[in-house]
């Protein structure tokens, strides 16, 4: 049993991956142990992702940071930045080759943030604020709205629900803890309910994903490529993923 409540770790989807905010109380090993529990609980959600660790006012040593980085690597996650207020923390992180963006929350939702290969969206600001305030298991469908097409090679992860106004091209992927709604053509890969929720749904105006997962289930589009596109919802029924006309 950890003395740092696992639930007080806040995870948000941001441009370039995920931000993980560790609580300010408890020792560093305790915080890392809580983080490890989160990682082992939802491996599919984190695997292959990039994380910016928000450490608040903590002063960390180089060893502390290496431990965090190694922990993430063991779960196939890349640590790319440490966001902290203490100048010594920032200096050491920078020395380890990590990014040290300024800790103001504007960085996280600022559309002018430094461009990177996986930069993706215009964020709906209201949902950002709600996410920061709520503990992990009390999230409602606090969602992320992405107002552009996702291109091949782009990847979007978010612990809540995701709505895309645009297409999701083949080669693009969305991994969401909640539902996924694509107001456009869905042709990439999606994973809804990636934190273990098999009641999540995937909706699209043209549901033609390369691969579709809900919770722990996986399926792919039928090979019938010439069908007319129409709005559909995919959900798990009797242990299988089925697609139904939208609105049923």
């Amino acid at each position: 049993m950890v003395s740092v409540d696992q639930k007080s770790i806040v995870i948000k989807g941001i441009r370039d991956g995920l931000s993980v905010t560790l609580p300010g109380d408890g020792t560093w090993p305790e915080a890392l142990a809580a983080l490890e529990s989160r990682l082992t609980q939802s491996p599919a959600f984190f695997k292959g992702g990039r994380v910016a660790l928000m450490v608040g006012a903590r002063t960390l040593t180089e060893d502390d940071m290496r431990q965090a980085r190694d922990l993430l690597v063991r779960h196939d996650v890349t640590l790319w930045a440490i966001v902290g207020e203490a100048p010594v923390t920032r200096r050491i992180a920078s020395g380890l080759g990590l990014d040290v963006p300024p800790p103001s929350s504007a960085w996280v939702s600022d559309p002018a943030a430094p461009p990177a290969e996986s930069r993706i969206w215009d964020v709906a600001v209201e949902s950002e604020r709600e996410l920061v305030a709520m503990p992990l298991d009390e999230w409602p469908d606090a969602g992320l709205v992405v107002r552009r097409t996702l291109r091949s090679g782009q990847s979007l992860r978010h612990p809540g629900s995701v709505a895309v106004i645009g297409d999701v091209n083949p080669g693009a992927e969305i991994i969401a803890g909640g539902n996924i709604v694509v107001w456009g053509r869905l042709r990439g890969t999606v994973h809804a309910g990636a934190l273990g929720d098999e009641t999540a749904v995937v909706c699209a105006l043209d549901l033609a994903p390369t691969q579709l997962r809900i919770g722990g289930r996986i399926t792919r589009s039928p090979d019938d490529r010439r069908r007319k596109p129409r709005p559909e919802t995919a959900r798990v029924r009797d242990g299988q993923i089925i697609a139904e006309p939208w609105g049923v």
């Binding site: 291109r151 083949p170 042709r187």
Partner: protein, 269 residues
């Protein structure tokens, strides 16, 4: 006057970047513009072959960057068109020999005396592509109407947009109208539906291109070449002219024409 620097790229190899670069260069020169075609595919150069200038190479772009010669000495004037020049790539070195800053400097120097610089990028999305992209103020994506080429083009467009070099323009190359009509090949609309960028031109599959490549005589020089005509139209669009997009129709074969005689309402079966 600042030159327009276009990087011609694709992601996928073999879709026609080099042919496109050479032919647009020729077409622009035919319209009187001063053009440099720059081969940025270091180590696997072929822009010189397509232009038929391979036996005139004395210096290449790496020699310029490493200071062994002046830029002027490395530029090769085309044997047919005085406004067209080639800056060849190196065949001995590889892409690590040229950094982004080097290419930017070369293009700035070229920009002083030419109207257009067309950079023939290497295939892929690694360093070679990034270096070729660095000096660009416009990007032309070349793709084939074929699913894996389009997938790669989509990836590249995403990278171009992330590098803030967008919006890119698209050329759909090697279209086979017959296959499109029969539903066996993607049409331009299908491609644009995925890539969602402005169309610059459509070039049909044309065997004169292969023949002219082997001879070092770009198709854009040939009046009768359909592909050449498409490249000439592309050049005009680059200069701001509104040229309607070609609709290619395969001429019906004998059986099809006979078949039509027997249809009562003229629709194909």
């Amino acid at each position: 006057m600042a030159a327009k620097v276009y990087t011609i790229t694709s992601g996928k190899g073999g879709v026609g970047k080099t042919t496109t670069t050479a032919n647009i260069g020729v077409a622009l020169a035919l319209l009187g513009k001063r053009v440099v075609c720059l081969d940025a595919d270091i180590g696997l150069r072929n822009l010189d072959v397509v232009l038929g200038l391979e036996n005139r190479i004395v210096y290449d772009v790496v020699d310029v960057i490493e200071g062994r010669c002046k830029l002027r000495q490395a530029l090769i004037k085309d044997k047919r068109l005085p406004e067209l020049h080639l800056l060849p790539a190196s065949q001995k070195r590889d892409k690590s020999a040229v950094k982004s800053e080097d290419l930017i400097r070369v293009c700035e120097e070229l920009g002083a005396e030419h109207d257009f610089v067309l950079i023939d990028s290497a295939a892929g999305i690694e360093e070679g592509f990034r270096t070729a992209l660095a000096p660009a103020n416009g990007v032309i994506i070349v793709t084939n109407p074929e699913v894996s080429a389009v997938r790669d083009a989509d990836r590249v467009i995403g990278l171009v947009e992330a590098a803030e070099k967008g919006p890119a323009k698209l050329i759909v190359n090697r279209l086979k109208p017959g296959l499109v009509q029969r539903g066996d090949m993607l049409d331009t609309g299908d491609v644009l539906e995925i890539l969602a960028v402005d169309l610059l031109g459509v070039v049909p599959e044309d065997e004169t291109v292969l023949i002219s490549t082997n001879r070092g005589h770009p198709a854009a020089l040939e009046e009768k070449s359909r592909a050449g005509q498409s490249f000439r139209n592309i050049a005009r669009r680059l200069l701001g002219e509104e040229v309607p997009f070609e609709t290619f129709r395969e001429a019906p074969g004998l059986l099809q024409r006979l078949g039509r005689l027997f249809q009562s309402d003229g629709r194909s079966a």
